[in-house]
Symmetry: C2
Amino acid sequence: MKIAVIGTGGVGRTLAAALATLGHEVAVGTRSVENTLARTEPDVFGNPPYSQWQQEHTDIQLLPFAEAGAFGEIVLNATNGANSLTALEAVGAENLDGKVLLDVALPLDLSQGMPPTLTVANTDSLAEQIQRTYPEAKVVKSLNSVAFPVMVDPSRVPGEHSVFVAGDHEDAKAAVRSLLEGFGWPTGAIIDLGGITGARGAEMYSRLYFTLAGVLDTFDFNIKVVRGA
Amino acid sequence: MKIAVIGTGGVGRTLAAALATLGHEVAVGTRSVENTLARTEPDVFGNPPYSQWQQEHTDIQLLPFAEAGAFGEIVLNATNGANSLTALEAVGAENLDGKVLLDVALPLDLSQGMPPTLTVANTDSLAEQIQRTYPEAKVVKSLNSVAFPVMVDPSRVPGEHSVFVAGDHEDAKAAVRSLLEGFGWPTGAIIDLGGITGARGAEMYSRLYFTLAGVLDTFDFNIKVVRGA
């Protein structure tokens, strides 16, 4: 399947590489191919320059946002959540309409340090904003509750643990489930939170998630939902 | 130990009964003893009238807020979170200063139905508001992440699963850990989220919690934090 990954950071690269390994055709979308390839320093999160990563992933194309969007049968939003709406505007509604739009982003405000606050929460969520902005896209929120290495390799955390999907379109959620299973998530670990407003819970959990990452001193963890009798 | 439980609803009654069973002297605090005992109908959540519950728990005193506060060596806030600051004002700073104040409340806005939004979130939390209002009290947030039957009986959910504590006072957190262990929470299940701002994560998790309760169709569940290698 042709998949567009919007965003060149650690999340985008990790998802792109894992999808390519699984046999998908992958394009990464960026605002400016030239600027992205011109960088020679690690980014603020310590990721090496994209050009260096590119050399190890020559099967993955780097395209401008709109071209990547046009390429993808499925589009993944792996941008910084605070900038996602701006990035998706550059991808363009014409390249999103009718498609599965898997939103893994968190609308983090890191200006006050860790743990971050959210730029939208409680009465709305990033995924809802995206779905409202692109009513013809089929937005599914998922994977935002774990660190990017765990997204594509749940075995980094022992045993079965949970991942969430939320969205208004059942066919799109089925397609995302399929991707998750490809990454190694067991069917029983995938919990359907219902419609796209379910994304609010998944996004707001991030405050507990980042607090836990701090006290556990690792991002290699997750939560398992355990049900009573 | 003498423990005051502020709040006469399902949470307060469940905590009061469990604490009395464990051998503590318990007083429940209410705005008006007369009004609380005069009610003959179930409350909005379907709890039977307090007077009926009282007959089955004759060892538990019902006292006005301030008298309950004065009685307790430890004070539990089990009020409706949206009204907690008003209720604690009636308890009085003089009855909270220097004491462990275990806050189990969630600041829920149920006006739009389930799952509820929060009256405070993201950049603040109820527990932080309480700590700021009563700087001499030792506020600990805990137990708010599970339903009240699970609070006092974690075995309702199979295996080990997690409960959180957050607060600025180590001695107060140790006292709360002790209460939790009394309820049956294993030591290793209690995760310290650090200072009182850690309460923000525990409270914001409630959106995911109520969403999960809806899709699982039960409140008998919890999350287990699973750490990688």
